[in-house]
């Protein structure tokens, strides 16, 4: 149960945290996507240099801790809200016509979020963990330094059809999460306006379609090229 007052206990405040972390994660998606463009273009050195920069540059490192925290807060808060919401209706309806008054994605944010969580765990294990702690092939770059070859690791991973399909499906589900989530976050924060809210809705739909689609294109391009 949510317990009322203030910026931590109340159900409204729990939604502020969902919205703030959710929007921060959206901004991360943009940066992450831009960094991955060299993967699609087959630029091995560019991608590996970018990966080194992202794992060693101090400012990025600081921001990355904020990012990890946002993921944890978003997921834990999301699960707390799901529990509160389930407890608020212990006896279910025999007939419930949810489609009559709300979009599918808005009614399944928890399911979509939990699937995204599964995807993130698999994704982090495959690449983030290997980059930071795993045994990853290295080669000598032209400036004489050693470079971890995350590029080859990634390209090899997407030779597998099932792995590529898993990514495409995951991105479709993330897109559905954002189809409702992006504009919903503004409503949660009370940021509504007769003129700007329609624009935010359009921007949210655009974001939810384009960002996951380009993410999904990366493994598809690599798979087809292999």
């Amino acid at each position: 149960m949510a317990t009322g007052k203030g910026l931590f206990g109340s159900s409204i405040a729990r939604k502020y945290w969902m919205a703030l972390t959710g929007l921060f994660l959206c901004s991360f998606l943009v940066i992450h996507l831009l960094g991955n463009i060299p993967l699609m273009l087959g630029h091995q050195d560019d991608f590996n240099l970018y990966a080194r920069f992202m794992t060693t540059f101090p400012v990025i490192k600081a921001v990355s801790y904020l990012l990890y925290a946002s993921f944890v807060v978003h997921a834990v808060d999301g699960i707390l809200l799901m529990r509160q919401n389930a407890a608020a209706r212990p006896v279910k309806y025999a007939a419930y016509n949810g489609a009559a008054n709300a979009s599918w994605s808005s009614r399944n944010m928890g399911l979509l979020g939990v699937f995204t969580l599964v995807f993130i765990v698999v994704h982090l294990k495959s690449f983030w963990y290997e980059m930071h702690f795993g045994k990853i092939p290295v080669y000598i770059y032209e400036d004489g330094t050693e470079l971890k070859d995350l590029y080859t690791l990634t390209v090899t991973a997407f030779q597998e059809l099932w792995y590529t399909v898993f990514y495409v499906v995951s991105m479709a589900l993330l897109g559905l999460h954002l189809w409702h989530g992006f504009s919903s976050a503004f409503q949660s924060l009370g940021l509504t306006h007769p003129k700007y809210t329609p624009m935010i809705k359009i921007a949210g739909a655009f974001f939810a379609l384009v960002i996951p689609a380009v993410f999904a294109a990366i493994p598809v391009v690599i798979y087809l090229a292999s």
Partner: protein
Amino acid sequence: MNFILKIWRQSGPSEAGQMVTYPVSHVSQDMSFLEMIDELNIDLIQKGEEPVVFDHDCREGICGMCSLFINGEAHGPGRAVTTCQLHMREFKEGDVITIEPWRAEAFPVIKDLMVDRTAFDRIIQAGGYVSVNTSGNIPDANALLVPKVDADAAFDAASCIGCGACVATCKNASAMLFVSAKVSQFALLPQGRVEAAERVQNMVRQMDLEGFGSCTNTGACEVECPAGISIENIARMNREFLKASLG
């Protein structure tokens, strides 16, 4: 017209309930939904069975007493109507109609289709009022100037009849539409601003303590609300609560 009704029967708050099927005939298309159940109850009483208990009072869409979750929707398939104002012509001959009580932890079933909505009263008691001295010199109503847009928005919010359809239809059984309407009707007016910060905090606190769910912004509530309350009120309450919590 003839219908097959599937109705939730439960003899008391702590008894187990179940769906029971009743055929009804001789229903006129001009009858309201409640009149149709009246007909069923006449049959049941004549047969010596227990009539179906349901809430109602004005039967003209203003009191907020009638409820009923009909075919998966609060107040049935109509838009901007209460169950008492829903007419049988909205249904097709021979339809199977499922009728359930509002389902929420905070709205326990009393009997059959009647639920206890006093959780709403306690939320109002927590802050849904303005403290004014009503003895003696009452100031002239027109002494305080209120912009027309604010007055209209406050009036729209105040048209909530407290029926609880928003809670019933929400997948989270959230009371945000009701509470935000009550917060807004005061927050928009100068008389209400005085206690605005305390009010929103106390009402939200009571809403949480009653065990309502949180808001996922699905918007289902504003679609089903018989009074046409907009979720813009929820956004306003989110702003008010943030301001109050930071201030």
